[in-house]
Amino acid sequence: MINNIWSRHSLAPLAVISVAVLSACSEPSPSSLATPSAQSTTVVHHASLADAYSTVNDLSTASSLIVAGTAGTSHVEKVGEVPFTVTDFKVTDLTKAPSSIVSGSTIQVRQSPGSVSPADSPASDEDAGLAGLTSGTQYLLYLQPFTFSDTAHAVPNEYVITGGQAAWEKTSTHSYIQKLSSKLPTTLSIEGSGKTARISIVK
């Protein structure tokens, strides 16, 4: 998983950016540290999750947007010194959404910092226990508005994956699977399309 992260995320152009970002953020390195060389280091991430969801019902209640669609290109936005990946997501089907979002809309999904790691041995969102999005891949997502204060002041059109894990990757016409280890169902299906789409648990 680690070795093919750049092909999966199609973020190779970001490697240069992220290395530059991390270098710019670095404190002066003490000479006696075990300073990693570019060839011999791995970058590791771990997250502590703020919310725990174990059922689709809980997820549905907590999410303001439930959509299927395709991940597009990504860019990096920094908060302080921390780079976040923000990915365009083109909606095809939706089962819960505000009226402003319809089939064909493009929203933005903010992910963890895990996607932007030095190119020598990058870690991934999955390593941190979080769902990551790959450009060109289709997903079913449960989403919440992204905000720095409250939902009334949410960043327009930008969302986060509910609980960090509520992403299922499309594997066949109707079937979506989750690749993370969680208590959420591993396989969901979508019947119908557009606003009439219905989600059911397969496994």
Binding site: E27, P28, A34, T41, V44, S54, V79, P113
Partner: protein
């Protein structure tokens, strides 16, 4: 005493002895190890500092470091330093509002080929922790410091509180189980690493 009854008595006492040993072993049997390792570790006397200290963050962080010194010995210098210091590994703690992303704590570190981490960055997401009680907030600090020392996640959402570790991945679960400081599984993990 007949031969039969003698053997019977020996057999009976043996059975009792075996039962007692088994009982002792059962009562002393440790909970199955759940800790995981990141594969990285820090050097002794690792320093730490807060990039943007505010009072409750300092308290949570310092209390967590003091708790860890009970298990990690001289791995960490519990007193906060004003900034990165030469001559030691260090842990940078940054508490800021990173917005409604799913995590309340996030650790990033580089790991050299010899397994040593020179610098660990711990981000605390004030968007979430500012609304936490002290148990949940301290559990996040302590959890992230556990990562810094080389522990991965332990257990999952099904782990009972009796076996809960500070390295449980979800804050609500840790807080519900009062796992805001290193527990026995965390201690076992540290002993296995160092």
């Amino acid at each position: 005493m007949s031969k039969g009854s003698k053997f019977g008595a020996i057999a009976a006492s043996s059975t009792i002895a075996v039962a007692m040993v088994a009982s002792t072993q059962l009562s002393q049997a440790p909970v199955a190890e759940a800790y995981t390792k990141t594969g990285c570790h820090v050097t002794s006397n690792t320093r730490w500092y807060l990039s943007n200290p505010v009072q409750d963050e300092e308290t949570r962080a310092e209390d967590s470091m003091i708790n860890w010194t009970n298990y990690a010995g001289n791995l960490v210098h519990p007193v906060r330093w004003p900034g990165p210091q030469s001559g030691s590994s260090y842990i940078q703690v940054v508490a800021a509002n990173y917005g409604s992303v799913s995590w309340d704590g996030y650790s990033t570190w580089t790991c050299a080929s010899n397994g040593l981490s020179g610098k660990v960055t711990v981000e605390i997401n004030r968007y979430h922790t500012a609304n936490y009680g002290w148990v949940a907030e301290q559990s996040v600090y302590s959890h992230e410091f556990g990562h810094a020392f080389g522990l991965g996640h332990s257990g999952n959402d099904s782990t009972p509180c009796s076996a809960a570790a500070n390295m449980l991945p979800n804050t609500p679960h840790r807080a519900a189980c009062n796992a805001y400081y290193p527990k026995s599984d965390d201690s076992n993990g540290i002993k296995a690493i160092y």
